[in-house]
Symmetry: C2
Subunit: 297 residues, 2 copies
C-alpha cells in the first residue's frame, strides 16, 4: 500500500467526479483536444502535486462517456500522495485541492481509501445511467412496458455500436425503468454491471420510438432475440446531451464528502439551475408568442 | 414616399425582430464590438442590398435592450428597397432576404409598410416588457399587490439608473401585473409608452425583495413618492437575462408574416426549447443528487 521510502508516499484513492459534459468532447483524454473531462481532471491532479505522473498512478476510470454526456457520479481510482501516517494526521483535503484547478463544470464530490488492488473499472459492481426525455406526447405506459423487457440476461448485439470484431454481446440488465421526474420530464433509468458501446443511447432511441407510437413495446423483445446473422435494424441512438452517468457502485467503498465543498457546489448548481429555468421559460414563452403571431405553430 | 428617379426606390418599412439576447452585448450597435443585435441586423440588411447605407435610411429602433436581454417583438423602421409599383408586383420577401444573413438567434418575424413620417421610436404607443422570475418560495400575493402600485403616473426617479442630468422622471405605467406562466415561473408584465434607463430591471429588483419578504409591498408607494432631494435607496436592478422586450405596439401598423419563415422559426425554437428543458432537468437532478450525497444541501 505504501511506496518505497524516500519517494512520495502514495495510497490508492477513489474519487467521485461530477461534470456537466455538454461543453466537453467526452470523458476520455484524447491527444487531439484538451477539452475532455479527463484531460482537465489529470491536469488538476498534477497541478495539486498529488502524483508525479498519471502513468505511474495505476489510474482507472469507472466509465467512458461520449461527447455531451454528463455525470453525477463518475468514479476514477489512482495512487495519490498521502499524509496519513500511524500518528493519525489528517489526510490531504483531496476534493478541495483538486477542485481548485478544475473548471466550474467539473467537480470532485468525494473521495475514499480503497485497497491497492482496486480498479474503478474492474471493481465496479453496477453502473447506473439516466436518460432524460421530455414527456411531451410520449406514451409513457408503452415505454414502461418496453423498458421492462430489457431486464435480465440478453444479447445486446442490436443495441450497441460495434467497437471490436470479437466482442461478446451478452449483458445482464438489473433494472430498467421509466421514472417520472416532474415538470413534464420522464427519466429512463438503467442499471447493469457493464454496458456495450452506446448501449444506453441505443436503448433510449428505441424507447423513444415506442413512446412515439412508431414501434410496439414488444419490438424490443424481438430485437433482443435476433440472431447474429440478422442485420441490425435502422434506428438512431438517442442524442448524448440527455444522458447522465448517474452513479458507479462499489462494494465496501465509503466515500467521504467535504461538507464546505459540497455546500459550495450545491449553491453553484442551484444558481445555475435557476438560470437554466429562466432560459427554459423564455424559450417556452417565445414558442407561445410565435404561435400567436403565426396562427398556431 | 419614393426616392428620386434613377436611384434605388425605397419605402419606409417596419420590421419586427426576435432575438435571444443572452450571447449579445445588447441591442444597440457599438463601435467596440460586433456582437450586438443591431450590428448583425444592419449587416444583414446591407448584405441583402435593401438599402445603400443605414445612415441614409432614416433608421429608428423601438427600444434599446441591455446586454443579455431578449426580445420577442423588437421593432425597427427604415427605408428599404421596394419592388412594389402601380402594376401590382409582389414585394421583396423582406423577412427571408434578411434572415438569410442573420445568426439563428436573431430573426425578422414580420414586416409592414408604414408612413414616411413613421419612426419605430417616436411612433411607439406602448412597450411591453416581461420579466421572468422562478417562483421558488416567493410570496406571489405580495408581489401582485406591489406590482399594482406601479400603475398610473408617477415619478420613477428612484426606479432607474440616471442617464442624463436634466432628465424628466415622470412616466405613466398602464399595466403592471404578475402573471403565472406555469412550471413554477411567474412573470412580471409591465406596459408603458416609455421607460427610463433600466427602469424595468429596477422595478423587478424591488418586486423580488417584496417576494422574498425583505420589503413590504407598500415600500413601492413610498419610493414612488420620495422627493428629488432624497437619496436613491440601495438595491440592485434585477439581472438582465430574465428580461424580454415582449412587444412594441403601434397604431394602424399591420405586420405581414411569411408563413414558411414563421413555421421554420417555430420548429427551431421548439427544438431549442426541448434541449433547454433537458438541460434544466439534468441540473435539477444534479441538485437533488447532491442533496442526497451531502445530506440536504
Amino acid at each position: 500500500m505504501w511506496s518505497r521510502p524516500g519517494q512520495m508516499e502514495r495510497r490508492k484513492v477513489a474519487l467521485k467526479v461530477f461534470y456537466l459534459g455538454w461543453m466537453y468532447e467526452g470523458f476520455a483524454k484524447q491527444k487531439r483536444t484538451r477539452q475532455t473531462v479527463e484531460g482537465h481532471l489529470h491536469y488538476a491532479i498534477l497541478k495539486a502535486k498529488l502524483t508525479p505522473s498519471i502513468e505511474s498512478s495505476e489510474y482507472s476510470r469507472g466509465g467512458r462517456t461520449d461527447t455531451g454526456v454528463c455525470a453525477y457520479g463518475q468514479v476514477v481510482s489512482l495512487l495519490l500522495r498521502t499524509r496519513k501516517t500511524e500518528k493519525g494526521q489528517t489526510e490531504i483535503p483531496y476534493t478541495l485541492a483538486i477542485n481548485r484547478h478544475l473548471p466550474r463544470s467539473i467537480r470532485v464530490l468525494s473521495w475514499a481509501y480503497v485497497p491497492a488492488s482496486f480498479s474503478a473499472r474492474f471493481s465496479c459492481k453496477h453502473r447506473v445511467y439516466r436518460y432524460y426525455l421530455p414527456q411531451g406526447s410520449l406514451d409513457v405506459a408503452s415505454m414502461r412496458r418496453g423498458a421492462s423487457l430489457f431486464v435480465g440476461k440478453h444479447c445486446f448485439r442490436h443495441f450497441c455500436v460495434k467497437s471490436k470484431e470479437d466482442e461478446r454481446y451478452e449483458r445482464t440488465v438489473d433494472r430498467a425503468e421509466i421514472l417520472s421526474s416532474g415538470e413534464g420530464m420522464c427519466v429512463f433509468e438503467v442499471v447493469s454491471r457493464g454496458f456495450l458501446y452506446r448501449q444506453v443511447r441505443c436503448m433510449a432511441g428505441i424507447l423513444l420510438l415506442v413512446g412515439e407510437g412508431k414501434r410496439q413495446p414488444e419490438y424490443i423483445a424481438e430485437l433482443l432475440s435476433l440472431s447474429a446473422a440478422e442485420k441490425k435494424p435502422g434506428y438512431q441512438p438517442a442524442p448524448p446531451q440527455n444522458l447522465v452517468l448517474y452513479d458507479c457502485v462499489y462494494d465496501g467503498v465509503c466515500f467521504e464528502t467535504a461538507p464546505a465543498e459540497c455546500e459550495r457546489l450545491g449553491r453553484d448548481l442551484a444558481e445555475e439551475h435557476l438560470e437554466k429555468q429562466v432560459e427554459e421559460a423564455v424559450l417556452r414563452g417565445s414558442v407561445e408568442y410565435l404561435g400567436g403571431l403565426c396562427g398556431g405553430v
